[in-house]
Amino acid sequence: MTDVNETINGLLNELRRGTIVIGVLSQLSIPQYGYSLVTVLEEKGIAVDPGTLYPLLRRLEKQELLESKWDTNEARPRKYYLLSPFGQEVYAGLCQEWRKLSISMERIMDESEGGKRDGDH
């Protein structure tokens, strides 16, 4: 028999993958470099591994959602990313869609739980 937790983890990873983009965009109204973003998101309860985040940042930059600048003044040169005006618009739109999605999901889960609640708990 497959392990319930293992299956849940696998599916959860798939769910998270899409939400990371919103998480990243939400934090980039001020310039940040990759690893600081990892820490900030972690503090807010969104775990993202750097091996996923770094390529993602590049991809979002290529899609023109982000702008980037190398800061070579510090001891360690770092690439800072910032939301572009286009990115801001996309982020606002995404948030709206996410809220709608989340409301629908809530409703669906409430409905199915409402029918089963007495039996399960």
């Binding site: 990759g34 690893y35 091996g51 390529p55 991809r59 190398w70 040169p77 770092r78």
Partner: protein, 338 residues
């Protein structure tokens, strides 16, 4: 730390040249940041470094994430037909070369050891050639296919039910044996031209001595080998496309006709060169004692030989024409009846 450099190298080496420098710098910064978090002071310990690299994961996978797409020479869609074609070509090369070895051995049993070495060397050589040509042909098909998808996806957004291809009429389907025999024929022909053109001639066995009087002048013929290569590549290209498409279409018919015409013209050009023919054919026939001046049929043989280009080229052209007409007819009959 050396191991960090090795990790970064393993990632960037799999990325496009233009992105390497920047990603290298980015990864260096990232790994240093991650190390810093693990321990506040002092130089990083080996186990921390390894921990960080483990967290970043397989460099292959990381490079794949950076690329965002997979690259391949021959994609999954084309791989099956590629493998099929490759198998057919290699097997027919092996059969053709083995057949030739057998003929040569029967011919000159005393030199069997030498023939065997020749056979092994030529077999490897021919297989490498076959492998290369099939791969190049599929590379071109794959490249074209990729270009097409790019054009398609930029032209029309998404997919429409009307894009669905028709289920091919069974009569329009190409039997697998068709392109297979086509490839075998092409390969046999090419192998014959490349390795055994001297065997093409009049065979004579006399007192246990076997001799061949070749039709062609092997030295001159060799200078025409590029033409043979082009004809072979075109033939394999055509058959590969037939294996991929597997049904008769107007385009495929056009391709078939074009390849047939080009191949026939190329062979025609080659055979029309008077120096390609064995200049001492008749003398050799006389010397071998097969016939002598004044013997029965001598005049006929001489006149046929002297006019060889006058009748051989039209015959080849007629064969090509019959093939084109029959292919067109097969396609046309189904097209009009459905």
């Amino acid at each position: 730390m050396e191991i960090i450099d090795r990790y970064i190298y393993a990632v960037t080496q799999r990325l496009p040249e233009g992105q390497r420098a920047e990603i290298k710098q980015e990864l260096q910064g990232l790994i240093e940041d991650m190390l810093e978090e693990r321990e506040a002071e002092g130089p990083p310990a080996q186990k921390d470094v390894e921990g960080v690299l483990l967290e970043l994961g397989d460099p292959n996978a990381l490079a794949a994430k950076y690329r965002g797409y997979d690259r391949y020479l021959i994609g999954p869609q084309m791989f099956e037909p590629y493998l099929t074609t490759l198998k057919i070509v290699l097997i027919s090369i092996a059969i053709a070369m083995t057949g030739m070895f057998a003929i040569e051995s029967i011919f000159e049993p005393s030199e069997i050891a030498e023939h065997f070495t020749d056979y092994i060397v030529s077999l490897i050589n021919a297989c490498v050639h076959g492998f290369g040509w099939v791969t190049i042909v599929f590379l071109l098909i794959e490249y074209r296919e990729q270009q097409n998808t790019i054009v398609k996806s930029s032209k029309s957004k998404g997919w429409k039910p009307s894009d669905l291809p028709q289920i091919p009429d069974t009569r329009l389907q190409i039997k697998m044996s068709d392109p297979i025999s086509g490839i075998i024929f092409t390969v046999m022909f090419t192998v014959l031209c490349l390795y055994a053109i001297e065997l093409l001639g009049v065979w004579r066995s006399h007192d246990g001595n076997r001799t061949v009087i070749p039709f062609l002048n092997a030295d001159v013929f060799r200078s025409y080998l590029p033409i043979v290569w082009v004809a072979a590549a075109l033939g394999i290209l055509k058959e590969s496309i037939r294996i991929i498409v597997r049904k008769r279409t107007g385009k495929l018919l056009a391709l078939h006709i074009a390849v047939s015409i080009v191949a026939t013209v190329l062979i025609g050009i080659m055979l029309a060169d008077p120096t390609i023919w064995n200049p001492v054919f008749i003398q050799q026939l006389e010397a071998s004692g097969i016939m002598s001046p004044g013997s029965e049929g001598y005049e006929t043989v001489v006149s046929i030989w002297n006019g060889v280009t006058d009748w051989l080229i039209p015959i080849i052209a007629i064969f090509a024409l019959i093939d084109i007409i029959s292919e067109t007819y097969k396609w046309y009959r189904v097209k009009t009846s459905s």
